[in-house]
Each structure stands twice: as structure tokens, then as C-alpha cells.
Amino acid sequence: MEDFRSEIKKMSMSEFFPAIVHMKSDGWRLSQICATCIPGGYEMSYSFCRDYDMVTLRIEPGENEEVASITQIYPCAFIQESEAAELFGVKICNIKPDYRNGIYRIDEETPFRDKE
């Protein structure tokens, strides 16, 4: 298990999108997207796998900061991005395809968000 790479790279919001484009051209596939609430905002982790290696890119958007959707580059991201947007309230813009009513059918809005 130790033979395979698994690292977490923190980066700023401006570095993020070019890094995603780079991952795609390098042949990494999207493994998972995870949102976590931290004080004053969110922590978004995007994990990618190539063969058996795994790299996680991490950004920390503020509470009202917009994050660009990566669905233009990784179309399959829509379901996990919707999850982050609908359950946590992360402001992800331009998710494609755009299911206007959302994928999650729940009564409560952004239930996973930490409420003060």
C-alpha cells in the first residue's frame, strides 16, 4: 500500500483551474470531490487517480466565493459538484448539464452546512 503515491496539494484559487486542465492532459481520471465546512468557508478536495497513484488538489474558497465548475473538463463531475453545492452550499457556477431543480430532492436547504 505504501508503494503507491497518495498526496494532498494545497493551492490558491487562481492556480486551481490551470491545474485541473493540466491533470486532464496528463491523463488523470477524476476519483472524487469532497466538500468540508471549515470556519469562514469550505475546503474542497478534488482527487484524481492515474493507474494506482492518487493526487488530491485542495482549495479553500470563502463562504461566498465562487468556484468554477470543472464539468467542462471532467463532464462526470456534475453529480459530485451538485452534491457539494446542494448539500453544503458551496457556490459552484456553471455546472453542466444544468438540472435547474437540482439533483437532490430534499426539503431542507444546504443541510450539511455548519450553522452557527
Binding site: 430532492r105 430534499i106 426539503d107 431542507e108 443541510p111
Partner: protein, 156 residues
Amino acid sequence: MGKISKSPWLLHYDASSCNGCDIEVLDCLTPKYDIERFGIINTGDPFQADIFLITGGVNSQTADVVKQIYSQMPEPKVVVAVGICACTGGVFKDCYNIKGGIDTVIPVDVYVPGCAARPESIIDGVVKALAVLDKKHADMESKERKQGLWKTSEVK
């Protein structure tokens, strides 16, 4: 034994359970437990069902579906809550999206415990439900007779 309880038809719905009880319900219908030998058939159509087997706690989405299926079933009907989540909410009780047991939405006649409920106890629950079904059927008939909806001599 009444006419319906000799060959009751089951309807199964998963109202947000973990799947464990659902596959055990299906297990009852397959060769090892095989409740078809008692004349019990699984149906997908609420309009044809007599017994409603329901698993899992109810959440905001399934509450309406459960009510709708229940209202589509013809009288007399019996509801069996399978598994501890269907009875009380079980391990999921504290989840923000879970309302609690099935009885928060529709009346339940038989409660089957277990996490996941074993096929033996599900069969037990169904057999208990048959007695309830018979009683409901008899009550309905005598009520209809009293109201004079049918004349006994003509039926026999």
C-alpha cells in the same frame, strides 16, 4: 381462513432503508424460504396488493410516496413494518432527514424487529398479518351487511 388470506399478494417498498431488509424480503421469495408455496406472490402493482411490506424510516421524499401507495391499495389491507428502522427509525433516528418509523405516516398493523430483519421473522410477520387481514375482511363484510349493501342469500 378467509378467501384472501389463502393467497395474499405482497407489495414491497423501500422508504429509505439501507437495502439490508429489502434483499431479505426478496430472499423470502426465493428458493430457500419460498413463501410462494403458501400462495403469497410479490407484485409491483399497488392496486393488486393486500399486504404492504415496508422497510426503512420515512424521509421527507418518501412520506408522500408511502401515503400514495397506501391509498392506492384496495381494502382490506395490512401494513407490515420490516426492520427496526421501519418500526422506530433505528440507527438512522438522529439523521436530519429521517422522520421516524412508518407509523408516523400510515397506520402499521405488524412490526417486525431486527437489523436486518431475518427472513424467518419476516415470514412470521406476514403470517401474523394474515390474521389481521382476515379480521379486517370480516369486519368489512359485517359492516357492509349492516348497511344492506348486499343480501347474503344472493351472494351464497
